[in-house]
């Protein structure tokens, strides 16, 4: 070309590509890391990877800046100033580990429960949980309690699966998709890929969300619901389906407990439990024989209606009838709920009609024979192409468990769970409903120098499974007590508060990993900081020792006594296991690893590595050989390959067996990690087409799941429209059984433990003075930031350097503010000052902001005048970890009464225009930065790669 410069378009990207797994968030996509001269040149998505299929999100694509963040910790540190000051001294690993071993060893010898070990954004819970179990403390959980336990428990108790990351809509076949309360979710890229496909195919996307941004902005229909009222809206949809007889009776009879008979004997100890036969199986009324039959007998023709007289003369009614009565009542009519939800009745009715139309008139039929659990062959797979997904907009309310159940029940009534076009399980799900796993850690199980009898977290079936000794909670977070009986993920948000109050008891060591509890993952931040620094009369900290592992200088670091600096995700081994939160898709079981692709240039160690080392130093049985030597001398990779949970089952499912030929179960394979690395750091086993749907009742699938070790036996999962364990707790509150709630708790349990889902107003809303806090305040995750981590990233922080409070334009007009004006936002807990932005796409009774953008001065390598700390703000200052005092003077935790899920989004606020200086309040004083060098004032990353332009 005349005059045009000749440019080199063939410059190689790097000198080497390493395939590993992203950890800019918990989605865990496959990445190709291009390296040049040992530095990261470019990160792109791995096209073969089951999670992201080649794409990469906004965070993942900024990985370079995370990896080279100036806030990275450099070496183990010991606190030298007062707690919270941020004054540290760097020490050697040997010193750090012996210090930790000393502290932890003493506690284990005396009273293991005086260690509380809690992990935040943990992806290695199978290891951290095992470690805690081996240590012998009951006090272990990860972040699920403040995150999504309502979704996990709501789903698992109902149908052995869950929204969250354990299932997906059938992205390829769904024609009608409803999204409740999701801004981003854990399945970050899969949801984006999926929404792209849905929209590309012209499927309808309906968003139910008080805010219209992101996924909700591209929805074909937006339902701008008032927060906390989804249960009413979904109840009204169910009302409409019942009223118009638009439900899949066939499906209900086959796969659910709809026909199961429920004892109707008010006042009796078994009122509301299932009527059972001699074999213990619930019974149904068989219309064919006119007699009772077992619910597991496929030969019956079970009645869905009719009051039946049991052999003992009492009456029983099928679940279906009870449920129909509940939802057909006027309380759930679209008109009745509309003033609460803000959704007009006409819209609700139309959506219900559309759901029915798509489910029943536009069914998807796959020419794919399959065999059900009872051995019957079906020639086709018939699907109802309606699917739903919900997350924290439903979960983070104190009525979230029941609302979540309601959404699943809506899907079940339409016959759309795990059918073509419906909601699909991801292996190892479905589990039994609920999974056969009980919580461990009762006081009598806790013995000095001894492991616990089993895993901490599970699914209680009734009061007998609570971790209580009389009225004494066994766990520091009061998990599995009357405060939150079905708290399957623990209550991490209560740990610091309870420990500081020594309620139920004091602890000696608080050991935390990857959780920024001094800031964005705490409710009531100022109170939490006080709790972390509170001292006893003798001048000793009430929480005497705090060990913390972080990779970066977060707000939590200054509050720890001993820092165990982690590597970045590109520097370490990790294991994303089917025993944990796997990366499977609906079509395949999959797991993956992370392996070091860049050498650390600092004195840091992978936390898992350190935990295994500590396990050996403490002589925990699973980490020590008979002769006392460390069992995994090769560290974490050694553990990943050689640890066996049960014979043949280890952290990784791929290439097992001495020669790598086995999948799922098999002897350890010394070359396993090499095989993973060769395959792009993941393993995926694709299901056969005949296994791909109806997994809850599909014999081929169930048999395979047993072989893989996912299930104990090939029994089907029966969907629990009626949740008997919930009733078991209610019966206790009504005065039955050996274990009963204290008086303070009876009414609360009686009311909320309804085995059929129902809606009740979120607690905070019903407890604060009426009218005093007229607005809802909620947060959303920005797609380009992961909690607090994003702000240290030079690229991501430019996108959002400070958060605004988004309010409806009509509210702005009412209080007389325009964009960027300052306002005070008040709750019963406190007040913050922040800047507004007006918008149209928000429920008029709701204000919202981006989560975790506000930062504390001193943290994250940011300058003290950074907008994050001076203009940005944290809503958490307004959120109380305790509810206002109720009747009986007891202050419950601000959580779901069933699961203990933190009710972040129940927050109620008042707003007013603020004058004065343009600065956020409260403004916390800056902490020291632990001796980290100052951050650069200019970046020219990549200049060094420029050489080969021409």
């Amino acid at each position: 070309m005349p005059n045009q410069p000749v440019i080199d378009v063939n410059a190689p990207v790097g000198d080497n590509v390493a395939k590993t797994t992203c950890y800019m968030c918990a989605c865990r996509c496959g990445i190709d890391v291009h390296l040049r001269d040992g530095k990261v040149r470019y990160i792109e998505g791995n096209r073969d990877h089951p999670v992201n299929q080649g794409v990469l999100c906004g965070k993942g694509s900024a990985g370079i800046m995370q990896h080279y963040s100036p806030a990275r910790l450099r070496a183990p540190m010991k606190r030298v100033g007062p707690r919270g000051s941020g004054e540290f001294e760097e020490i050697s690993w040997e010193e750090a580990l012996s210090l930790a071993t000393g502290w932890l060893g003493d506690v284990r010898k005396a009273d293991p429960k005086r260690l509380a070990f809690f992990t935040g954004r943990d992806q290695s819970q199978s290891l951290t949980g095992l470690w805690a179990m081996q240590y012998g403390t009951p006090n272990f959980a990860a972040h699920g309690g403040f995150c999504s336990v309502n979704m996990a428990a709501g789903g698992l108790y109902t149908f052995g699966g869950a929204f969250w990351e354990f299932g997906d809509p059938d992205w390829e076949l769904t024609k009608y998709f409803m999204l409740f309360g999701v801004a981003e979710d854990h399945a970050s890229n899969p949801i984006k890929i999926g929404i792209g496909h849905l929209k590309g195919r012209g499927a309808k996307v309906v968003s139910v969300n008080p805010v219209r941004t992101g996924y909700n902005a591209v929805a074909d229909e937006w339902v701008g619901i008032r927060p906390g009222t989804d249960g009413l809206f979904v109840g009204a949809l169910i009302h409409e389906l019942f009223r118009n007889q638009k439900i899949d009776l066939d499906y209900l009879v086959r796969y659910t407990n709809a026909p199961w008979l429920v004892i109707q004997d008010p006042g009796a100890a078994d009122d509301g439990l299932f009527a059972r036969g001699e074999d213990g199986e619930p019974i149904v009324f068989d219309k064919a024989t006119g007699d009772f039959g077992s619910s597991m007998d496929v030969g019956t023709t079970p009645a869905l209606t009719g009051v039946r007289k049991l052999a003992d003369g009492r009456t029983a009614r099928p679940v279906f009838e009870l449920m129909a009565e509940r939802f057909l009542s006027d309380e759930y009519s679209p008109e009745a709920v509309s003033s609460q939800t803000g959704v007009d009745a006409e819209q609700t009715r139309r959506i219900a009609a559309e759901l029915a139309e798509v489910a029943f008139e536009q069914e998807v039929v796959l020419d794919q024979p399959w065999t059900d659990w009872a051995g019957r062959r079906h020639e086709k797979m018939i699907g109802r192409p309606v699917s739903m997904h919900a997350m924290r907009g439903v979960s983070a309310h104190s009525n979230g468990f029941q609302t979540c159940r309601m959404i699943h029940i809506l899907q079940i009534l339409l016959g759309s769970i795990d059918c073509p076009g419906g909601f699909r399980y991801k292996p190892p799900y479905p589990k039994q409903a609920p999974p056969w796993l009980l919580p461990h850690g009762a006081l009598e199980d806790i013995r000095p120098d001894e492991p616990l009898g089993g895993p901490h977290l599970g699914f209680p079936l009734g009061p007998q499974h609570l971790l209580l000794d009389g009225d004494r909670p066994s766990r520091i977070d009061k998990g599995f007590t009357w405060d939150a009986p079905m708290s399957s993920h623990g209550l991490m948000h209560m740990v610091i508060n309870n420990a500081a109050k020594k309620d139920p008891y004091g602890i000696e060591v608080l050991f935390m990993y990857m959780a920024n509890m001094a800031w964005n993952s705490s409710m009531n931040v100022p109170g939490t900081l006080n709790n972390l620094t509170a001292k006893d009369d003798d001048g000793r900290y009430v929480i005497p020792k705090i060990i913390y592992s972080d990779a970066y200088y977060s707000e939590m670091v200054p509050y720890a006594d001993l820092i165990l600096p982690d590597t970045t995700y590109l520097e370490r081994w990790d294991c994303i296991s089917l025993l944990d939160r796997p990366i499977s898709t609906a079509e395949m079981a999959a797991d993956s690893i992370r392996h070091p692709v860049v050498k650390p240039d600092r004195d840091v160690r992978g936390f898992q590595e350190v935990l295994i080392d500590l396990g050996a130093r403490l002589s925990l049985p699973a980490f020590t050989n008979e002769d006392g030597s460390p069992k995994y001398a090769g560290g974490y990779p050694d553990y990943m390959v050689n640890h066996e949970r049960k014979p043949g089952i280890g952290p990784l499912a791929g290439w097992r067996g001495a020669d790598g030929s086995k999948t799922g179960q098999g002897a350890p394979n010394p070359k396993q990690l090499e095989r993973y690395i060769e395959n792009g750091a993941f393993f995926a086993h694709e299901l056969k087409p005949e296994q791909a749907y109806f997994k809850h009742a599909n014999r081929d699938y169930l048999d395979w799941a047993v072989a893989m070790g996912f299930r104990m036996e090939p029994r089907p999962t029966i969907f629990q429209l009626y949740c008997e364990p919930v009733q078991a707790f209610r019966l206790a509150a009504e005065g039955h059984g050996l274990r009963q709630p204290p008086e303070t708790h009876r009414e609360r349990i009686r009311k909320h433990f309804d085995p059929l889902p129902f809606w009740y107003p979120p607690f905070e809303e019903s407890m604060v003075k009426e009218g005093a806090y007229p607005l809802h305040a909620i947060t959303q995750r920005p797609m380009h930031m992961y909690h607090s981590w994003g702000s240290q990233n030079a690229w991501l922080r430019q996108i959002t350097t400070a958060n605004r409070l988004y309010i409806h334009r009509s509210l702005g007009a009412k209080i007389g503010v325009v964009d960027d004006d300052w306002v005070w936002l008040r709750s019963h807990q406190g007040r913050v000052k922040c800047q507004v932005r007006l918008m149209d796409g928000v429920n008029p009774d709701t204000v919202w902001t981006w989560n975790a953008i506000g930062k504390r001065r001193g943290a994250w390598g940011l300058s003290d005048d950074s907008p994050e700390s001076n203009q940005g703000f944290l809503l958490n200052h307004l959120i109380s970890e305790l509810l206002p005092e109720g009747g009986g003077g007891y202050r419950y935790s601000n959580s779901d009464p069933i699961t203990g899920q933190a009710a972040w989004f129940d927050l109620r606020v008042a707003i007013e225009k603020a004058d004065g200086i343009a600065e956020t309040e409260p403004l916390f004083e800056a902490t020291e930065t632990g001796g980290l060098p100052p951050s650069p004032t200019e970046l020219s990353y990549g200049a060094e790669f420029k050489g080969d332009r021409r």
Partner: protein, 251 residues
Amino acid sequence: MTSLPESTEKKLGLVIDLDICVGCQACATSCKEWNTGGYSAPLSDHDPYGADPFGAWLNRVHSYEVGEGRGSKTVHFPRSCLHCEEPDCVTVCPTGASYKRVEDGIVLVNPDICIGCKLCSWACPYGAREYDVDDGVMKKCTLCVDRIYNETIPEEDRLPACVRACPTGARAFGDLGDPQSAVSKAVADRGGYGLLEEFGYKPVNRYLPPRTANSNTASTSVVAKSAEAIPKPDGSAIERLFAWADQALSR
């Protein structure tokens, strides 16, 4: 060479589907990541950890609200150079650093002769030119010229970084001068448009508009059929339901 070519052999460009874009910023950060080490290296960042950070980005994602009340929408709106056919950003350049390529229509800056006078950025109505304060030269979207022809990259990956990354598939790349190309067809099907055509630079990139609510096939048929099928509420709903549910159903 600041004179524009009479015509170009191809009109390479991007097509962005506003109906699908969720505003995730992947195109913006992947662009930054690729280009900070690529043809335009570096894309510097000023005050990266301080009070007023700003860096050079070749692609940015805006968000807008359109309309009022019920009919209103939120739209996420990525914007980069549109590789205009007749842009003044090229002709105003005093050095010839700014040019439009004859073979594919890509508008490029030659970073080796650019003097950083910024005039081209004044001439661009789209804000697509980014001055790199630390490097002292103008940067802009290169359409990833060092990827799309790069023989050291597997063929399927010879795509702009932003297109390769976009998780929703809202971005496509191709020859908009060829009516048979996939991108041209998508533009024809969906009523794709150029930004600010009134201005006269003849932008090559195209945007696919957000579909108006419920215009897609599944939902229109759904709405049409079911709207009349909604029975009026009536007191006997429960009896009717039970009678209906009482049909014999074997398992």
